[in-house]
């Protein structure tokens, strides 16, 4: 499991260091540290001010939404229960 976590983290790191293809081009007061974008004005311990103002809270249940896997099959988010899960939002531009 540790090897899988390692690889998953590294891939996530890679994705964000590629940056231009997935993450936002610019963020308010953004600065870089070792090639990794850091939010300024957001607390690195949580950095969730906007999400909190949108009504989300740590400890709340994930919403009951059904999305799709990359093959177009329905994927209810409840299917991710049973293990810890990381969700990272992004797009091509």
């Amino acid at each position: 499991m540790k090897l899988w976590i390692n690889s998953a983290l590294a891939i996530t790191l890679t994705l964000l260091q590629i940056g231009d293809l997935f993450a936002q081009q610019s963020r308010p007061g953004e600065r870089r540290a070792n090639g990794v974008r850091r939010g300024v004005g957001s607390d690195n311990r949580s950095g969730a001010g906007t999400l909190e103002r949108a009504g989300l809270k740590v400890g709340q249940q994930m919403p009951d939404v059904t999305v799709y896997d990359e093959n177009g099959e329905k994927f209810p988010l409840s299917r991710a229960k049973g293990k810890h899960a990381v969700l990272v939002f992004g797009c091509l531009t």
Partner: protein, 359 residues
């Protein structure tokens, strides 16, 4: 531990190295996912949000947020902006540290760029004098894929009063790898159903281009005068779509319905040309009414005050501008009033140092 990338609506259509435009259908968004998968070369599984953006709306409407969920489905970590090093720290606390963390250099990722099927940069870009807001556009049923996507954007006057300028951009969708055939008739569009909306001119034709084929958008600015809460109007477009890869060049006629309401999931296009100086940069001059070089307009920001209470609340702001609220909201009422907008405009003008985080 599971990791998923969640593909969502485009934050900046036409941004980056490839001019991707918002998909119309789930099938098209899944093609985006395939493109992202191929381009990034990562093996992390992807999830694709619904075409109505249900998950994005349910989880705070941020462009690049991240969440850690426990096995019972509860949020244990959430972050406005994804931060890989902090995420690693979070996961080490949750599941434990590893002896030898894998680095990027340990992975052999094959990153591909999206190929361009024809020339670009041969047709001058057109845009509104100030960045417009995307409007709701619905594609009517067509047996042929929407090789061309209509992007409609309104200037602030149009959204506020029903009278102003409208951008109509016909963009080839890169997911279909098609190009214009400039040996055939150029693109033609016509407003075919108006209702309570007056559009001038009611039709247009794309430029004649000497280059045999290209992929540049065909863009137009029209004037609109509409009644309040006017219904949608239709735009019909005719063009030739060609694919060297698939060996076809066919005439296409498709129709869109455009509603003069902001599409909150339409993203903010970052495009150059059209009303700007050489190189696509805005002219370096001061603008009236609290505007500042670089595009921050107090008037434009306050035009989002739909209920006319003298301030722009989070609900009234398009998603792409909510970060301005985070910076400007000095009295923590979750809204920007004109005074707070002026402060931000002044910072843009004077390039005041931004607030540094406390550690």
């Amino acid at each position: 531990m599971q990791v998923f990338f969640v593909y969502k609506s485009l934050a900046h259509p036409e941004g980056g190295s490839s001019p991707f435009v918002p998909p119309f259908t789930l099938k098209e968004r899944l093609l985006h996912v395939q493109e992202a998968k191929k381009t990034l070369g990562a093996t992390v599984p992807w999830l694709c949000d619904t075409i109505n953006n249900d998950l994005k709306h349910a989880l705070g409407d941020r462009p690049n947020s991240e969440f850690v969920i426990d096995p019972q489905g509860k949020i244990v970590v959430m972050r406005d902006w994804s931060n890989p090093s902090t995420l690693r720290s979070d996961l080490e606390k949750i599941v434990g540290a590893v002896d030898k963390p894998t680095q990027v250099s340990d992975l052999n990722l094959k990153i591909e760029t999206t190929p361009r099927p024809a020339a670009s940069g041969v047709v001058k870009r057109v845009s509104l004098p100030n960045p417009g807001q995307p409007l709701l556009v619905e594609a009517q049923v067509s047996k042929i894929p929407y090789y061309v996507k209509l992007r409609a954007e309104a200037d602030s006057d149009l959204l506020r009063s029903g009278k102003g300028k409208l951008y109509l951009g016909f963009h080839l969708d890169p997911i279909y790898h098609v190009h214009w055939n400039n040996l055939a008739k150029p693109l033609e569009w016509e407003v075919t159903s108006v209702g309570a909306v007056s559009v001038t001119p009611t039709k247009g034709t794309g430029p004649t281009v000497e280059t045999e084929s290209d992929i540049d958008p065909r863009e137009f600015i029209v004037n609109v005068d509409s009644e309040r809460d006017a219904g949608p109007f239709d735009v019909t477009v005719k063009y030739f779509a060609c694919s060297d890869e698939q060996g076809f060049c066919i005439p296409v006629t498709q129709t869109y319905s455009v509603t003069l309401k902001q599409d909150r999931d339409g993203g903010q296009a970052r495009r150059s040309g059209g009303g700007r100086g050489p190189g696509g940069r805005p002219p370096s001059r001061r603008r009236p009414d609290g505007d500042s070089p670089g595009g921050f307009s107090v008037a434009r920001l306050m035009s989002h005050d739909r209920n006319k209470d003298g301030k722009v609340s989070r609900d009234e702001l398009p998603g792409s501008l909510t970060r301005i609220l985070d910076r400007a909201d000095s009295n923590n009422d979750d809204a920007i009033d004109e005074k707070e907008a002026e402060v931000i405009a002044a910072r843009f003008r004077q390039r005041l140092p931004r607030q540094r985080p406390t550690r």
